[in-house]
Symmetry: D2
Subunit: 380 residues, 4 copies
């Protein structure tokens, strides 16, 4: 059916297939780049075939960067929070984000064992743009998240190098976001199918200020049987071999918003990603590093590295609510939950079948039977 | 339809209506009391009608107790953890549970403004059974959770007194658990309908050790439109007046298990309640105190107030997994998530319509239209 | 020696005896009330003598209140943070302060087993001043800290009642702060001597904005041998019976400042109290509930219960530093550490010998031999 | 004075100069290696002189490793906790240690910007000894702490490479620990003097089980004026140019013990390092990454990567106390505090004057005037 692939034959996004998660309107691209200033870049590392030769390949991996704003992030930091939902993960940079409530580099996502190399590359990038670091001013805190692409990729080879990060940054764009088996998502699996990068967005407070919440995920978790799509337990209804395999993966969830929140409010936002994650069937498995990072791009809460005066003026979301209405943060929570759920689905729907190390095949989600199940449940 | 109420005309539980949440088997009672030794007691406070006279009534409130084991809890503490999912709540006792990883009183749930009185009553109870407290040994840490029953109840009156707690303890039972508009649940609302007490349980590792996870909730959160039952967005599909009212409530979730876990493992369990909660449609609203308490009744991890020797032998769940299998905690996670979701539904399905202060009416969930919607979605 | 007591024969403060902690200048009263708007009130409960009759007396206890500003605290909340240094304590109100970063009642300190009653009394007070609570708006989160006065007091009797709290509030003053064996400090012990209430303050950024940090402690921890005064291990040098008794007590530390900080910055401040505490010889003993609460009275960070608009303007301390200087928060850290250490010493130096239940005597710190030791070490 | 240097002219440790911190006995080496099985290795990177050429040198840096036991750490993990006292730091590995309560690699300490490279090198090391990582089993979580050696070292060059880590591991020893300007300590400064590596130990429960607590620090914090030695404010009493420079450094503190504690108890231990740190004059400065890592080497709490059975037997410290005595953890707290304070002093007393980039000179602590001040205060 032509309606189930795009014009170029590419896999369609969940919403293009008729799956509508939640009730809030999406931004124009239904992507994290709907948040003004946010750019996404990918660099895919792919070479070799056949048997795993540890350290040699084959490589099915990469790096994805989320750039909060186009300026110098070290000099103009963004408020941020990292919420560890399940900490079987190796995200670096957490202590300083907790303490200072800000992020001062792009956020990079990559293969687990590459975190050290990518963090080092982020430092190189920061030194190039900000040569005073570690000489006349303080050091820089790279933030790198990860998932394990062990099933398809020669992880031990740690094939993501400095140039890949630079390339991801150089090619980053505020336009449509490539999804699926690309960048850090190249070798990832979700619910026993091919996973990877997905994104979505929501608009809130349209009638007043018109804020956007955008989510980008690196989806690499779950077993087939767990998969739930828009409330329908698709995983249990698909005619699948029922391998009882432990959930070994992870998910990184990055939330951007232009709503003016500082670290505490952003932590509340980050924590809500678990609600979206849960609706896709995740159990937050033991071996899953489920970690969310939220930041605000609002100019009204930007944090300068060197302040002009001993106090800084900030305009903050009125979290307690306005004149008897509920808190405006509730709509941001809803937006986060809906966009997280949809971003995960987009990772699944967009990812293509990949053959990796040792001939391991990770199949793309079979769209037709899934849509049939959803149709029978009245969901498309 | 006779099948939709019990023989005595009472409201049936979700499972009795054909709603099956998840895949794990339930315990014999599908209740927290399936965990050996756990007892539940309720005391309902109900008097007056008509206009609210603050401090005078009408009263639609109460207290519910969860007793982890039948012995002296101060002398034989249970490992425990409290996870704050959203902290707009007044649960007391958190700091010590965090520090020492144990609970030394029954857990009580009540109306928000009654926390002080009920905590004081728990102290009275501890002093009666353990007269050395505060004289020759240390003090005692009461654990009390709460939700707001302001819509139906004269909260300012704080009508739960010491005798009500004693009565709840005295009448506590390890048998079937009364649900709905009883005890602490008397005045609670969930998803715009009548809420209150619900419970459910799951069995894990049947083939080996046969552990049980039981959950009891005090459900008092959510707006009508948010309600999701077994994945079906019932709230959006019911023909309801669409009042856009802020989510103001809260939920307390208590998880008991006889699996041998200490505080860190129990915190992981407690955190999984958010996954079950999310599946019912909760957004973890700003004004919602969403708090989970987990404890283990396993004799192999019991914590004596006075130890016989400088080290204590403990048999702990092998969290990292056994011989290549995944972690046995994953099944406990699944059990927690499923039992939490079902306990919330049981609160809704079992609660009866209540008329409270100022003639406020909180209607019971309309079972027929809900079942029709679920049937159309193929879920019953 | 006349110089070692005041004109009326009362015990002098540490600084009046020549002990100068740290380097920053004190405020005019060297008390938490140097922070504009902060008021302190005490109510002492004292009756009976002789043998302990549990529940009957003798009573050597009380309540102390810290009022952050003279207005309606529920409607105009102050930013705040609670840091649990050692959590063997029963402080109530923590979850909501963590989540929302604000305090909405006066802070009360009392005897451990009275927390429930005093929290209930704070609710009564809030209801009187803010009748919409629990009727047309949300509920209120009382913050009550505690230490154990078991050595001198009939704790089981819980002799602090609602009227005592009201009296403490009604008599609260922004003037000099009575210290030692008064209010919540009546029955407390520190370092094996009589302890209780102490306070101190420091001024920072004199040349620019001139902020004040004030600390009030309820000191009830430590064994004789641990006592360190201004770096001198006085406890080891006093000619004392060397009872090896476990440290059973606790300390509550309340920090007020008019520097404009929100919850994250205030948590950093609160955490610094441990540094001052450590300098007095504390080991943060197992059985010690060591808890710090910090709040800002700055009008520029006040948090309204109902906001006039969807964003609120705030002027925040520029934590990252101004034009190459270090962070202005460093001076606030120093102020907190110095004031905490001095407040603890003031509790010791000001507290008078008390005879309590069962004829238990807790002696005041012997000033002469202590000063002699300090003089020999060149510290006075 | 000959007594103030060793036979070979090297700088003596604090205790050899007559400074005795606290009261507990030290282990035989007064070093972290007194804890059986613990090994320490250093690799120093030193080349170049003269002006800083960013990326080229001069190098004054290195890496230090703490190896918890001689076996395969991935297969036999140790219980552990990381406590962030002030989080302006870049320690990696925190989320997983928090979640699982264990460490599965040696701990490495290095220069801030080298964390990525050293983490990557730890992975390489783990892959060599445990080739199943990332192929047939899960990934590995390297733990790397850091301080900034920017004053002396070309930080931007990140001159610590994989071979340096391997060399540090290969040369690691359970014997006496080289201190001062060595390994990660090469370029570090403390209290305006040369800092670096220091260690100390304490023995507890001699009469019964005879446990040891060992601490190793990487000391790189504080301004001259803040320095306190054994309670004496030496920094204020030395005749020094009084540069008011912001505290920019950090301290890493690693605590090893053979007492049988799991993560929660070890976090309590780790938190006590702040008490020892505070006694040296630290304010926990804004820009200071003050982070403590504690682990237990006790065989009775070892955590296998693959367990033989669904439960694992553990013998835990009886934290609540034995037959009316206080908690045995109190002595471990005291040991931690004393050893931390002394380890910091050893870093200062042992470190030698270093000339680094741009001709920057960091002078060793002047021993004679310091001892004179201590003598006048009666402390040596």
């Amino acid at each position: 059916m032509g309606v189930r692939t795009g014009e170029g034959g590419e896999r369609l996004r969940a919403r293009d297939l008729g799956i509508v998660i939640g009730e809030l309107p999406t931004g124009p691209r239904n992507a994290i780049t709907d948040v003004p200033g946010v750019r996404i870049g990918h660099s895919t590392v792919w070479f070799g075939d056949g048997p795993l030769r540890p350290g040699q390949g084959p490589a099915r991996t990469g790096v994805t960067v989320i750039v909060p704003h186009p300026g110098n992030l070290f000099r103009e930091k963004v408020p941020a929070a990292i919420e560890v939902i399940n900490g079987f993960g190796k995200t670096t940079g957490i202590a300083q984000v907790d303490e200072l409530g800000s992020i001062e580099t792009p956020i990079a996502l990559t293969s687990t064992l590459c975190v050290g190399r990518v963090a080092d590359a982020l430092i190189t990038h920061a030194l190039r743009t900000t040569p005073e670091i570690g000489v006349t001013t303080s050091t820089v805190n790279p933030v790198v998240g990860e998932c394990s692409d062990a099933f398809l990729n020669d992880m031990q080879g740690r094939h993501v190098h400095e140039d890949h990060l630079f390339q991801a940054l150089a090619s980053s764009s505020d336009g449509p976001v490539p999804e699926g088996s690309i960048g850090a998502g190249t070798g990832m699996s979700a619910f026993g199918f091919k996973g990877g990068i997905g994104t979505a967005s929501r608009r809130v407070s349209e009638e007043s200020v018109g804020w956007t919440v955008g989510v980008l995920v690196l989806a690499n978790f779950g077993s087939k049987r767990q998969l739930v799509i828009d409330g329908v337990p698709v995983g249990r209804m698909l005619d699948l071999e029922n391998i009882k395999e432990p959930e070994r993966g992870s998910i990184m969830m990055v939330v951007a918003t232009d709503a003016p929140l500082l670290d505490r409010g952003l932590r509340r936002i980050a924590r809500r990603t678990a609600f979206g994650l849960a609706r896709t069937g995740s159990m937050g498995g033991h071996g899953s590093g489920d970690i969310a990072i939220a930041f605000s791009t609002s100019a009204s809460v930007r944090i300068p590295h060197v302040a002009p005066a001993i106090t800084t003026n900030v305009a903050l979301l009125s979290e307690n609510g306005v004149r008897g209405d509920g808190s405006p943060i509730d709509e941001l929570f809803q937006a986060t939950i809906e966009a997280t759920e949809e971003a995960i689905l987009n990772a699944l729907f967009r990812a293509t079948t990949i053959i990796g190390r040792d001939g391991h095949v990770r199949y793309a989600l079979p769209v037709e039977p899934v849509l049939d199940i959803l149709a029978r449940a009245g969901r498309v």
